[in-house]
Every structure is written in structure tokens, then in C-alpha cells.
């Protein structure tokens, strides 16, 4: 069963458009020189909206933590159980983190601290999502 399909809104459309082009872009605040994800209307630190711009980042990170979903509530994901749900920090700014099911890593066999790189996975025709794969 495929993953849930993200529905882009006005704020997130540039992000998902980039993902569909297999690129990872994040909001960057020029005033604070900080990356921000998920996108917001204003910078979380200085509250400025004017200084926010999209910036392509290198899709490299590390696994900070994980759990294994054995009995979740999402109907669409139930056939996948058990599956990993990891928290991945971005190397370019470890304050930014992402969820990942770590494709290619068996459930329960998550190497916390390991390096990962972004990959893109189709969840519906014309819709990719960003995923992370352990670097061999």
C-alpha cells in the first residue's frame, strides 16, 4: 500500500514542485541565516516574512532517533506494519529534521547515528515525496 499523498497548499507548493523535480529546497531566512522546515509564513526566529526565500540544500543527514510503527492509526499504512519511522537531521543545519521510513533498512535494524542521503519516492502519479536512505 502506498504512503499517504501530500496535498500542497499555496505555501508548500514550491517545496513539492521541487521534490517532484527530485530537488530538496528549504526556506532560508536571510536575516537569521537559518534554514526552516516545514515551511512557514514567517521566520520562526525573527518573525520576518520578507527575508524568507527558497534555497536548495544538499540532501545529506544523519539518523537521530527512531521508533517502529506496529499498530498505527493510518488506514493506508496498516499493510506496511511494522515499519520504521526515523527522525533524520539535516547536515546543513541539524536543527532541521525530517521523518523517514528509511527504505532499504529492515524494521528494527536502524543504525542510529548513521549517515543518510535523500531519495525520492513516488506515492501517486506525478507526486514524489522525499525519503532518506542509509549511505552504504
Amino acid at each position: 500500500m502506498p504512503k499517504l499523498i501530500p496535498v500542497a497548499d499555496a505555501l508548500s507548493k514550491p517545496f513539492w514542485d521541487a521534490v517532484n523535480q527530485k530537488r530538496l529546497i528549504l526556506q532560508h531566512c536571510a536575516a537569521c541565516d537559518r534554514l526552516q522546515y516545514p515551511p512557514q509564513q514567517a521566520c520562526q526566529v525573527c518573525n520576518s516574512a520578507n527575508g524568507l526565500a527558497w534555497k536548495e540544500v544538499e540532501g545529506r543527514g544523519h539518523i537521530a532517533s527512531y521508533i517502529v510503527i506496529e499498530n498505527g492509526r493510518l488506514n493506508r499504512r496498516m499493510p506496511d506494519q511494522p515499519y520504521n519511522l526515523a527522525m533524520v537531521t539535516l547536515d546543513a543545519d541539524p536543527r532541521v529534521n525530517f521523518y523517514s521510513n528509511l527504505p532499504g533498512t529492515p524494521p528494527y535494524k536502524v543504525p542510529v547515528g548513521a549517515a543518510v542521503e535523500v531519495t525520492f519516492e513516488e506515492v501517486a502519479p506525478d507526486q514524489l515525496i522525499h525519503e532518506w536512505r542509509v549511505v552504504a
Binding site: L4, L85, N97
Partner: protein
């Protein structure tokens, strides 16, 4: 019969100093309905509405307050199952009943207007809408009474549960992830306090050297305290005492989160009566004074809260509470933090440094004597884990402990101050009670 426009009742900033109404507001009564697993869909005297009216009447009777004396009603009017409830959380599309059950109100939702009408509370002048959950409602009531917005205020927290799979409908049954869920649900996070806490908890175990199963003594003790709470689900339904072995062998939900780390959804209602301390002194019960209240809504930096954020947030919440009450960790006798998922209580325990517990100490503390008869009666209420998903056991137990009426749960240590909360590390509220006003 509305809230004053833009009424600023929250104490949600750092450095606010001692609460201006410290000791001038009191809890004068409380009332619990029976706690059912679900509404049976037949008994009209067991609806969420009937139970809310019953809880209010009990609170008023306990305090010796008549309907005409009530001038404030604060009722949480949101459904506990939220947007993921789906068909299991609404009565519709089934046909409604005769008034007052001719809409969702009274069946799955309760609001102040409905209660005021049903109970004939004709002198109510403060009945806000869009009321938050109980963790903030008690602070709202304390502030409103202290500010003179009202003087005798009912606070009602209904928690409904109909037949069906709790939170297995609605947006959780959707193939699409909309709004904020576009950043979480595709990967399996359907939202909730379990997800908020499980990653920091896993980081906690690695940082401080514990393991998830170190929660077992705490969870088992919560069930024990719950069985000493006569009105709670476990005690009133003869639920057997949970054992360490049963806990350790229970199935995983979000591994390592186990079934018994989770609370049990119920159909019930709780009411409290807040009053000015001056009025409360003339009522039937000894007043339990409010020494401070605070709220927080900390923003996570990114998609998932991590341990650093959780520890920072809970430290700040503790500082706000102690500062506003003019008290410190050594002054708190009764400590009833939230336990709606077991792997979060350690964050609160260590932030508030109750009984000297510092960061990384909680699991060793759990392994000691935390029984109500012992020297460290942690969570004497039994919390949600021991009484069901009422989210109110922490408040009721605090009141009873300070009154000295907690029965089999009455602690043997001093009971003059109490801290209670329904909160996640990121959002919610705390309240400090005192047997004395200062």
C-alpha cells in the same frame, strides 16, 4: 453570556513574577460522573450530556452552591477524538433523539450554552466559547475569578467515546495528507502526544542509559493508584491490577511504546467549582487555594521535537510555575503531572525536580518506593493510566490530598501543596494548589 472581548487570561510568558491572585481563588467543589468505556447508545441517563449535568450538580452540591449562584461556566466544547475521530466520534448520520438530544450537543459535544440551558443557570455572565482543554481551563477559571469576571465558576471537561475504533476514522482514514499533516502523515505519524514524546524518549534512554521497560514500575503503580480511586474506570469496573510481567509482555503500539503505556478512552465528565477564596470559605468544603497557574505553547524548531527541546520547554514551564507560586521544588508535596502516555512523565518529574529528581534520574526514582504509602508518592492520582482518559484525575486527587479526604490514596507525607497538569511538554498548562492561601 459571553467572554469579554480579547480577554487576556493566560500566564504564558517567562518572568511574570508572583501571580497577582495567589491564594485569592479556590476550588470549592468537584464532581465526577460514572466512567464508562463507551456510551451504550441506549441509556439516555448515561449520555455525555447527562453525565456532564450530573458532574456539575455533584460539584455544586459538594460546595453547597445553588444554580442561581453560578455566574461562570467554562466548558470544553471540542471533541476529544478531534479530526481523526470520524464516524466513531459522531452520532450523525444516525437519527437524533428528542430534545435535548436533537443534535450532537449532549451526545458527543457539550458546550456552555447547552449546559446553562439544561441546568437553568440563569445568572451566568461568563461562558466563553472556543475553550481549550482542561489543562488550560483551570487556569482560565482561576484567572477569571481572580479578575472578577465571575465569582462562582463551573469548569466542565467532558470526554466522550462511542462504539468504534477510537481515532481510526476521519483524516486517519484519508488517502491524502492535508494541512500540517502533509509533513508527517506520509511517513506514518498521524499526530498525537505519543509521537511527540516517543522520539525524545528514545533519545532520553540513550543519553541517560535507561531502557523503555524501566517505565514498568511507574505504569504498574499508576494502575495501583487508579484502583484506589473509587470513581475511576479501573476501580469502578474491577479491572485487575496490572503486573510487571503483563506490562513487559504487552504488545507494542509504536515500538517501544507498549499498549499499557497508553490510557483508555472513556465516556465520562468531570466538573470543578472555582470561587473567590472569600466565598469559598463559607462553602461546605475546606477551600483548596490556587497559588498559581501557567500555560505554554512552545513551537518546535522543525518537524519533530527532540530531547533538547523537550527538556528546555519543561524547564521553562517549571520555572514559570515556581516563580508564580513563590515556591520551589522542596515546597511541593503532591505532584500530579500528566501521564496520558507513560514515556513523558519523566520529563516533567525531572524539570520540576520533585523530591530532588534531576535529569536522567527518573527511572531510578521509579524503581524506588513511589507508592502512596511511601516517602515519594508520585502521581497519587493514578492519572489517566489508572483511571481512564478523563484527564482530570490529577486535579481531583490534588484537591482531595490537600483536604485530607483521599481515602486509601491519602499520602503519609505532608500534603499542603500540590502541582497538577494536563499538558504535553509543548503545550498545555499547570496549576499549583495550596491548603493555605499563602
Amino acid at each position: 453570556m459571553t467572554a469579554p472581548d480579547r480577554y487576556q487570561w493566560r500566564r504564558d510568558k517567562d518572568g511574570l513574577g508572583v501571580w497577582e491572585h495567589r491564594g485569592k481563588v479556590a476550588v470549592a467543589g468537584f464532581g465526577h460522573s460514572p466512567v464508562d468505556r463507551r456510551w451504550d447508545e441506549v441509556s439516555m441517563d448515561k449520555t455525555l450530556g447527562a453525565y456532564s449535568i450530573l458532574a456539575c450538580q455533584k460539584a455544586m452540591d459538594e460546595a453547597g452552591v445553588t444554580a442561581d449562584q453560578v455566574d461562570g461556566v467554562i466548558c470544553c466544547d471540542s471533541h476529544i477524538a478531534g479530526g481523526s475521530g470520524g464516524s466513531a466520534s459522531q452520532w450523525a448520520p444516525r437519527p437524533y433523539f428528542a430534545p435535548p438530544y436533537d443534535s450532537e450537543l449532549g451526545l458527543t459535544l457539550i458546550n456552555a450554552k447547552w449546559l446553562v440551558e439544561q441546568m437553568g443557570l440563569r445568572n451566568v455572565k461568563f461562558a466563553p466559547t472556543g475553550v481549550p482543554t482542561i489543562g488550560e481551563m483551570v487556569g482560565m477559571a482561576a484567572q477569571a475569578v481572580g479578575d472578577g469576571v465571575c465569582s462562582t465558576c463551573l469548569v466542565i471537561y467532558p470526554t466522550g467515546n462511542l462504539e468504534g475504533r477510537y481515532r481510526r476514522g476521519g483524516e486517519n482514514a484519508d488517502d491524502y495528507a492535508r494541512g500540517a499533516r502533509q509533513w508527517t502523515a506520509p511517513w506514518g505519524n498521524h499526530g498525537g502526544n505519543d509521537f511527540i514524546n516517543m522520539f525524545p524518549h528514545e533519545q532520553y534512554c540513550r543519553k541517560y542509559g535507561g531502557k523503555h521497560d524501566d517505565l514498568a514500575p511507574f505504569v504498574v503503580n499508576q494502575h495501583r493508584n487508579g484502583l484506589l480511586t473509587p470513581w475511576g474506570y479501573n476501580a469502578s469496573h474491577n479491572v485487575p491490577q496490572l503486573t510487571i510481567e503483563e506490562y513487559l509482555n504487552s504488545r507494542y503500539i509504536l515500538n517501544p511504546l507498549r499498549l499499557w503505556d497508553c490510557d483508555r478512552p472513556v465516556n465520562a465528565s468531570t466538573a470543578y467549582l472555582f470561587a473567590t477564596a472569600e466565598r469559598a470559605r463559607d462553602m461546605r468544603q475546606p477551600p483548596v487555594y490556587v497559588l498559581n497557574h501557567s500555560q505554554h505553547n512552545f513551537r518546535k524548531r522543525s518537524t519533530q521535537e527532540d530531547l533538547d527541546e523537550i527538556e528546555d520547554w519543561t524547564d521553562r514551564a517549571a520555572k514559570r510555575m515556581y516563580e508564580g507560586a513563590g515556591l520551589g521544588p522542596n515546597d511541593v508535596d503532591i505532584f500530579n503531572p500528566y501521564d496520558g502516555y507513560a514515556p513523558m512523565t519523566q520529563f516533567f518529574l525531572e524539570a520540576f525536580q520533585w523530591h530532588g529528581v534531576k535529569r536522567g534520574d527518573a527511572f531510578a526514582f521509579y524503581a524506588g518506593d513511589i507508592r502512596v504509602e511511601g516517602p515519594h508518592p508520585l502521581c497519587s492520582s493514578g492519572g489517566n493510566l489508572g483511571t481512564g482518559r478523563l484527564r482530570t484525575a490529577m486535579y481531583t486527587d490534588s484537591v482531595e490530598q490537600l483536604r485530607g479526604t483521599a481515602g486509601a490514596r491519602q499520602v503519609k507525607v505532608r500534603a499542603e501543596t500540590a502541582l497538577a497538569a494536563f499538558t504535553t511538554p509543548s503545550s498545555g498548562g499547570w496549576i499549583m494548589f495550596g491548603k493555605n492561601p499563602s
